[in-house]
């Protein structure tokens, strides 16, 4: 009894919450590192303001860290606090690490004797938790990636290969090689294919200390590409969301996809 409740709460926190308009983010203590095996630490949170922890911690159940050689490595010292989660990572390899929380899940609703039921779960729990005689059943899939990048030494591409699943960003400009006054160019992919016509929103952090958000809105071109001219140095939050009918779950009629990245832009 308690377990399904905890599970659904966990999913509620873990899912891309674009419908609540809160922003999910992972933020590294620094993105450019040097040395034999330097440490870097990360904060994860869900908040309105960037990058302040004042609402919910980011769940780390689906934390996936890809090392420069493509292997998966574990984060250390994971902790979930009231407002933020933290973890540490030692960069034992030279090159770029991709640090991501990749969430997925299903939402459903149906009617039993005219009463509306709501449900959250996974493709596995769908079969057991949704009654076979559900009326007006509607299932939608949600898949989101929240990620950031850190580099020890020279940036490289080994960890940046697209997975081919969901909404992803394929860097054209390396995500740890971004500088104020220069252009960063990226490509959005859905299931590995260029995503044209998607809106991308980019907001610089430290929002507490200014009156206007000054967010940058761009749209991907026919190749799924977009470019941002970085107005100044800072930690930037980037988000793109979309919806389609290409869910891999047969009962799901639609799919919500979200992609979020935290990118550090350095001064010249």
């Amino acid at each position: 009894m308690i377990r399904p409740l905890i599970l659904s709460l966990t999913l509620l926190l873990a899912l891309p919450l674009s419908l609540f308009a809160h922003k999910m983010w992972l933020r590294p203590s620094q993105t450019v590192l040097s040395g034999a095996d330097p440490w870097v630490t990360f904060d994860g949170a869900i908040s309105n303001d960037l990058f302040y922890f004042n609402h919910h911690p980011l769940r780390l159940d689906n934390l996936t860290i890809t090392a420069p050689d493509g292997s998966q490595v574990e984060a250390e010292n994971q902790a979930i606090g009231k407002y933020r989660s933290v973890f540490d990572l030692q960069l034992k390899q030279q090159g770029t690490y991709r640090v991501a929380v990749v969430n997925s899940g299903l939402m459903g609703s149906w009617e039993v004797n005219g009463e509306r039921k709501r449900w959250r779960g996974t493709a596995e729990s769908l079969a057991t938790e949704v009654p076979a005689d559900a009326q007006n059943l509607q299932i939608s899939e949600r898949a989101g990636r929240v990620e950031t990048f850190v580099t020890n030494g020279a940036p490289d591409e080994g960890a940046l290969k697209p997975t081919g699943k969901g909404l992803e960003m394929e860097p054209i400009t390396h995500p740890n090689d971004l500088y104020a006054g220069e252009e960063g160019r990226f490509r959005l992919l859905i299931d590995g294919k260029p995503a044209a016509g998607l809106e991308v929103e980019v907001i610089r952090g430290a929002t507490r200390y200014r009156d206007t958000l000054n967010d940058i809105q761009v749209k991907t071109d026919e190749n799924g590409e977009f470019a941002i001219e970085w107005p100044e140095a800072g930690m930037y939050w980037l988000e793109a969301t979309t919806r389609d009918e290409k869910s891999t779950v047969s009962k799901a009629s639609s799919r919500s996809l979200s992609y979020i990245a935290t990118l550090e832009v350095l001064p010249q």
């Binding site: 450019v32 040097s34 020279a154 940036p155 500088y179 350095l266």
Partner: protein, 176 residues
């Protein structure tokens, strides 16, 4: 007739080129580290390098950083604070680099010189370049100075710029 005249001229011109490239061109760099009246002072990290018109690094001249013990990499942790140098060349280097990297230096004037038969300058083709000198100090600031110059040029050059925070005077002198 004209062709016969041209050949000896070309030969003479060619011999001049070979003469000038065999007599060593020299580059001397003086970097002044200012005396600062601050409560906590650490010697700055300093890098000096040369890039071409496309900001491609063609020579690393000097990198002074904290070297505690041989083989220890304590000091390399802060090298990215020399952020232009780190971006353009530092992050791709295997440290230490012979004849380039060395320990931090105290306030004062420090001179390093190179001739064109040394590895730093051996590959430097005649042309227009920019000398970059970057300084970054723990609990302090960061400063970047640039000096455009011609290499090796046809006469002696003396370029001088004055830093305002982390660097004092920087003087580049070149003898072709």
């Amino acid at each position: 007739m004209i062709r016969y005249l041209l050949v000896p001229l070309a030969l003479i011109a060619g011999s001049f080129v070979s003469v000038s490239s065999s007599s060593a061109a020299e580059l001397e760099l003086m970097v002044e580290i200012p005396q600062l009246n601050v409560s906590e002072y650490h010697r700055p990290y300093i890098a000096a390098w040369i890039h071409d018109g496309d900001q491609k690094v063609v020579a690393n001249l000097a990198v002074w950083y904290q070297i505690k013990d041989k083989g220890s990499d304590v000091g390399t942790k802060w090298l990215p604070d020399l952020r232009q140098w780190w971006r353009r060349t530092g992050r791709s280097l295997t440290l230490p680099v012979d004849g380039v990297t060395g320990a931090t230096r105290p306030p004062g004037q420090h001179t390093v010189s190179f001739s064109d038969d040394q590895p730093q300058l051996a590959q430097l083709k005649p042309g227009e370049y920019i000398l970059m000198v970057e300084a970054s100090r723990e609990v302090g600031g960061r400063e970047l100075l640039k000096i455009p110059f011609a290499w090796p040029g046809d006469q002696s050059q003396l370029h001088e710029v004055q830093g305002s925070e982390e660097l004092g005077k920087v003087v580049l002198s070149i003898k072709p």
